[in-house]
Amino acid sequence: MPLYNQLKVYRAKLGLNQAEMGKRVGVSRQTISLIERGDYSPSVSLALKLAKECGVKVEDIFSYEEDGNE
């Protein structure tokens, strides 16, 4: 089942680029790019770190269905 995410939206709200977001959560810019494109599903700990940086819950960023279909 594909994992959808709103990471790009929340990152844009914070005014961070992929490299800066990656630095904050301890991964490379490429990994942030992979997550945003849906090509990589992060581990629980990375998902929690991302949610914490964005100031939201994990399920606000990641979901099994696209926004609007829920």
Partner: protein, 246 residues
């Protein structure tokens, strides 16, 4: 399905594979011998290598070493362009650089494997003709190793979080530990596919070794070497499987 029935079905499947594989092996081996190709020899390959050693070395340099160097230069150029981009979301140059890094490593790896195999196949320490090929071998093996180091340093310059001294024996471990989870996941996947492929490849190579023995009279050496490689892979696998189980 009950456990007994399942076991019986698996047993029958294995028996069927065995029944089908045995005649094939018989035909390839004893069958081939009986129809008169048991006198085929691989000596002509060795003669060709020995007579054209320097030419083959030069061909490997032209077709594998030099393309590797070209890829490194192109990767360097694309990394430079990627660093000049204002919009860091735009990673087209970085992707191109990554592709050239990949091909630089592929060319260099195959260059070193084939260059080393070639010199070991033709090595005759009593022959004076071997001096120049040996010098070429040592010089270009070092240059090949330098290419790998240059690639690692280039990647580390681009991404300072990547650790490890490429000259150190601990490099692979240190480098791996400095990767993030997505990068590690790629390596896990590549390793898993390599292991699964090698399990089949070793069976195939054993068959080839058997053919070499029966048809080309190459003795038991290849069979013993493949047995060693197969056993070693299995031992290492079972060791780590047990280690990570606990």
């Amino acid at each position: 399905m009950s456990k007994k029935k399942k076991l019986l079905r698996d047993g029958l499947k294995l028996l069927l594979i065995g029944v089908l594989a045995y005649p094939l092996g018989y035909f390839v081996g004893y069958g081939a011998g009986s129809i008169g190709i048991s006198e085929l020899s691989l000596d002509f390959i060795m003669d060709f290598i020995n007579e054209n050693l320097i030419v083959i070395q030069l061909a490997l340099i032209v077709f594998l070493y030099i393309p590797g160097v070209i890829c490194i230069r192109k990767a360097k150029r694309y990394f430079k362009q990627a660093n000049q981009m204002i919009d860091v979301e735009e990673d087209i140059h970085e992707k191109k650089a990554g592709t050239f890094v990949y091909f630089a490593l592929v060319f260099t790896r195959f260059f070193m494997i084939l260059f080393t195999t070639l010199i070991f196949l033709s090595l005759d320490l009593t022959s004076g003709n071997m001096v120049i090929p040996q010098i070429i071998y040592v010089v270009f093996l070092l240059l090949g190793a330098m290419n790998e180091i240059i690639v690692v340093r280039m990647v580390q310059t681009q991404d300072p979080t990547k650790k490890g001294d490429p000259i150190s024996l601990k490099f692979n471990n240190d480098y791996f530990l400095s990767l993030d989870e997505a990068e590690k996941s790629k390596i896990y996947k590549a390793s898993r596919h390599t292991f699964i492929f090698m399990e089949f490849a070793l069976i195939g190579l054993m068959l080839v070794a058997f053919i070499l023995k029966i048809i080309f009279d190459q003795g038991n050496g290849p069979i013993i070497m493949i047995t060693l490689a197969w056993s070693l892979q299995s031992i290492v696998y079972f060791y780590f499987a047990k280690k990570f189980d606990s």
